[in-house]
Assembly symmetry: C2
Homo-oligomer: 400 residues x 2
Amino acid sequence: MPDSSAWRRGFPPPPEHRIRFVDLTTLPYPAHRWLYCHWREVVPSVRVWRGRGAPRPLPRAERDLGGFTFDDPAGGTCTLNEALLRSATDGLLVLHDGKVLFERYLGDLQPHLTHRCFSVTKSFVGLLAATAVHDGRIDAALPVAHYVPELADSGWGSATIRQVLDMTVNLTFEEDYEDPEGDVVRSRRAAGTLPYPAGYSGPQSLYEYLLTVAQAGPHDDSFQYVTSNTHVLAWILQRVTDTPLATLLSEKLWQPLGAEEDGDLMVDPDGIAEAGGGLSVTLRDLARVGELVRCNGVVDGEELIPKAVIQDIADGADRQKFAKAGYREFDGWSYRNQWWVSHDAFGAIRGLGIFGQQLYVAPGAGLVIARFGSQRIAVDDALEALLMSAFGSLADLVAR
Amino acid sequence: MPDSSAWRRGFPPPPEHRIRFVDLTTLPYPAHRWLYCHWREVVPSVRVWRGRGAPRPLPRAERDLGGFTFDDPAGGTCTLNEALLRSATDGLLVLHDGKVLFERYLGDLQPHLTHRCFSVTKSFVGLLAATAVHDGRIDAALPVAHYVPELADSGWGSATIRQVLDMTVNLTFEEDYEDPEGDVVRSRRAAGTLPYPAGYSGPQSLYEYLLTVAQAGPHDDSFQYVTSNTHVLAWILQRVTDTPLATLLSEKLWQPLGAEEDGDLMVDPDGIAEAGGGLSVTLRDLARVGELVRCNGVVDGEELIPKAVIQDIADGADRQKFAKAGYREFDGWSYRNQWWVSHDAFGAIRGLGIFGQQLYVAPGAGLVIARFGSQRIAVDDALEALLMSAFGSLADLVAR
């Protein structure tokens, strides 16, 4: 189990355990475990206010699932406890029929600490944007440039909002997390979430960066996972509503959900939210969002997200277009409104973020799983398969 | 009334109303009004957690004091409303005998938003450090270097903790807020709260900066207001307790006080709190701290700060040493444990921060006043005198 307990500790931290923004690109691995629970201590962020009310209680019906055994896709079997350790889990919360079945924290995470969601952030934005489409504030059939004329000459100029929502925009952007000079790194530098290299003269804001991404071919042919799509989507949403994303998240989700803690949302040098991966929330509040989705957008009789929006996500998108992207571990899946859709018997859908962030919602099993992790590499197919097997087996268990 | 409503608004903000960290030294004035309510959106910060409980209610016994008239030291009279406008007030909250007498928000501030306290932060640190002295964890008679050997060769090497608490350390540091290349600016650059100039090769953390400050003459001769003293004090406190300031503030004050919102505490590149001016809290929570002090450290029967610590502050320090510093508007005052002590009939003590931050506690009148502002210049003697007259007259009014 990677241990980050020595990092950024002490007054001052010793040089070998410093975590400074200027060193973010070269920090050795275990440091990240601290970082994912403390992002706002390294970059600017805006509060996602939970409001004044008491948190909505999470009823408990706990079961010790640590010894629960499931098939390891790599061979043999594995217990849940073993899987948590192998996958550098920071926290796991399992809700069944809205009650806490299992809750566990490891590493630096605690119930009241926010953890970076990475791309699960996209699924939050998807809920809000799809709601704006449902409400008629955004016409998903219109091109992006209708709402954001600045993007007319970019790769999104002729793409429709629907294509952005479902990530079928054909862009020159390559979502490669390991390329030290690739599109992902360049986007992060512009967003202010990675330091500039010496002599940097690139874009100095998220929106400036988006103007540099070009169209690579005809849109709507296949799924192409590009984080910048979510930055574009949030740009449209914020322009149409004239409201910052943090305020929308607070008003539409955090306050009415009865979230337990404020969220922290990273912002770029202009104060624009990093909507593709910049949200940090507590594990319990992440689970509350999953539970909202499981309950078709309704909490305590109040519809926060239209049922039709949840149904539209559950129905998924074109599986052929998705298949062309070649995600072996998501055979038969699709991607709709910034959610990964399994089309399985439980109707499972997922929010997914690099380094092991997951929000798994399986309505057919009454199951919601929120999971934060600090894996060593951004996308680890073996760990992904292990957790998929764990979650699927848990769904089988509780659906029995 | 300076209006910052156009600043950092829009997606993206127009170039003329951008607020970027790299431009902090050159932003025109009204922008600051936005900044003081949104510091965490520009620099890294750590949460001061309020805990899980419901906020402690602030009972209300409101009176419309807007038309309350008092003597204007510049001549004639002034109403409270006029004074609020003239001094670019962001929020004013008056408690009498623990009940809200008057509460008003202007500019960008709202009840749930945190506002930067600037040097009122010092008074929070003073409460914690003086408590640690009272509890025997810190011996105030010992030299700084006893607890922080790194500072042995700095200006603080031979100074005692008591001298740091009361700011009678004799340092080469000049607390001049208007000097664009002075000690204050150099300290802020090191703390990461101002951008580096081109080719910067100075210190890259608060503690590195402190090592550059030298002794200017014999200590303990006169009061010398130097923000770095509080950085040293917080260094000692954090080293002795092995606990970050944000955690101490949460455990010792924010949680037991029943604060309404989490606080935001700016941190330097190593994650070290900017203890001299980096705390942002809501107006109501600032007032709660004032009320705690008014009640001798006791809230609902629980002693959060030892009565002896509050009494020691109220007793003040050496007024002759204070007088040598030449603060004309504080004739007869002293400075004790990071609080300004009036020695007046009401036993008034104050936390004071640049640009108009105030926490005024007048136990003899049962009065606590919390005040946030966005004045144009850091220290404005005329506005200071105006507010002093207002607060003193309010104390007379309620004490009648």
